[in-house]
């Protein structure tokens, strides 16, 4: 492991939380939460195939974390989604853990919520994870325990923020698909769960307009004020929960959406 790689506070032991011998595909791997997930899966002993649409960010991650394979794919294109899983298997071998993390983060009031925006959010945030789950169920090794972990959102559990009707509603749909697929794939021993992060300081605000940044700052202050723990989350908070849900320790948990929100939604 490269010395320049920023080390997160590594837990001292993994025990039944270990992912040794497991092979994961992570989408949206170059974003803030995606990077943390990749890093933690590797720490927990898994092999990782990482995919992202952003080449520059992916190259940056590949330089920091050279021990996983990288594939580029545009998840808004169904053919690319369907090919991605097979490419991952061809590159690394059978995949037994799918982390659907990639998402378009949109903020739009109703006047801006047009057909184009809805189609884009639907394609990446809902259609792609379902198509990947389908490919996974088709190609996953039948003799090993499997897990799908979807990254949902607190905004898919409650209407936390005006302007998130498209994003939040499709996260809610992903949460519901999580429950359905858990029932469908349970008899095959595949567990399907979702993590619903609250507000995570993940660096997604880079490149935003000044107005958007100010609005985002106000929102974060408000969230900090409402959250039970009095802080925003960091990507590692989410990544460690993904590792848990993928591990043998969580083998009887399925169909769940686990809030990782610092108690934000407690009211």
């Amino acid at each position: 492991m490269g010395a320049e790689r920023p080390r997160l506070d590594a837990p001292t032991g993994w025990g039944p939380f270990s992912l040794t011998g497991r092979r994961a595909l992570v989408t949206g791997a170059a974003g803030g939460i995606g990077r943390a997930i990749v890093t933690r899966l590797l720490d927990a002993g898994a092999e990782v195939v990482a995919t992202d649409r952003h080449l520059d960010r992916t190259n940056e991650l590949a330089a920091l974390v050279p021990e996983c394979r990288y594939l580029s794919a545009d998840l808004s294109v169904p053919d690319e989604v369907e090919a991605l899983f097979a490419r991952a298997v061809a590159a690394a071998g059978p995949i037994d853990l799918l982390v659907n993390n990639a998402a378009l983060i949109t903020s739009a009031l109703l006047p801006e919520t047009d057909a184009d925006l809805l189609d884009k959010v639907y394609a990446v945030n809902f259609r792609a994870p379902i198509l990947l789950s389908r490919a996974y169920a088709e190609l996953a090794a039948s003799d090993s325990p499997g897990a799908i972990v979807n990254i949902g959102s607190a905004g898919g559990v409650r209407a936390v923020r005006v302007g998130s009707s498209a994003y939040g509603s499709l996260k809610a749909a992903l949460g519901q698909a999580t429950a359905y697929l858990a029932r469908e794939l349970g008899p095959r021993g595949i567990v399907v769960n979702a993590v619903a992060p609250g507000s995570i300081a993940s660096g997604h605000s880079v490149g935003r307009s000044r107005e958007a940044s100010a609005a985002s700052r106000r929102l974060r202050d408000e969230i900090r004020g409402r959250s039970a723990l009095g802080r925003l989350g960091v990507p590692d908070d989410v990544a460690l929960v993904v590792v848990f849900l993928a591990s043998p320790a969580a083998a009887f948990i399925t169909g769940q959406t686990l809030l990782v929100d610092g108690g934000w939604l407690l009211g």
Partner: protein, 254 residues
Amino acid sequence: MSGLVAGKVALVTGAASGIGRASAMAFAREGAMVTVADVDADGGAETVRLVEAAGGEAIFVRCDIADEDDVRSAVAVTVERFGRLDCAHNNAGLGHGQAKLAEIDRNRWDRTVAVNLTGTWLCLKYEIQHMLERGEGGAIVVTSSATSLLAFPLTAGYAATKAGINQLVRSAAKEYGRDGIRVNAVLPGPISTEMVARSFVENPSLQKHLEEDVPLGRLGTPEEVADTVVFLCSGNAGFISGSMLTIDGGQTPW
């Protein structure tokens, strides 16, 4: 020392058997010193023996969680013996026997409420008081039940106390989050414990029905619940508070 809760001190109630015993052993395996609290001294002693045989450190405290003095003393003895309390698994609970709502015996109802609801509140009360006094936060997990979300027949009073527990967890998480205290609930579904085995004896069709009704096609193990509890008490779950986590093989369809 290694493990998810290395060097921490944990109190587990109902630790003489089932999920509580597995929890005590999982805490110890992950590096914690454990207080085994239960009304059953023989079972408690056996849990301590099992922890020690696995290389861990544990003490037994006799504790009826419905008795305020017992609970106060369990926390005090833990602090006296191990110096502090970082984690708690409030797991002790009992059922009122399989009965429809209108047929639940009044005395069994009262005992169920006294242990499951009042007792769990007493545990939270004295654990939180110690954690506030010490000022270094803490993590608490309560054993609720998947029955708190659905209307499983013949469990009305038990399920009502567990639904009450869910709300205690949310309130505690909200009120003490700024003090660094996280509080969460696990909601086990069908787990192969003695309590569940007893309900199979009372209602023989239940086992087959359960296994067919669980998408994963099996009962869960106490160890699976225990590992989740230890995870939720560890720093790996540092941003989870006020959450309810169902562990039921997919039986609850949401």
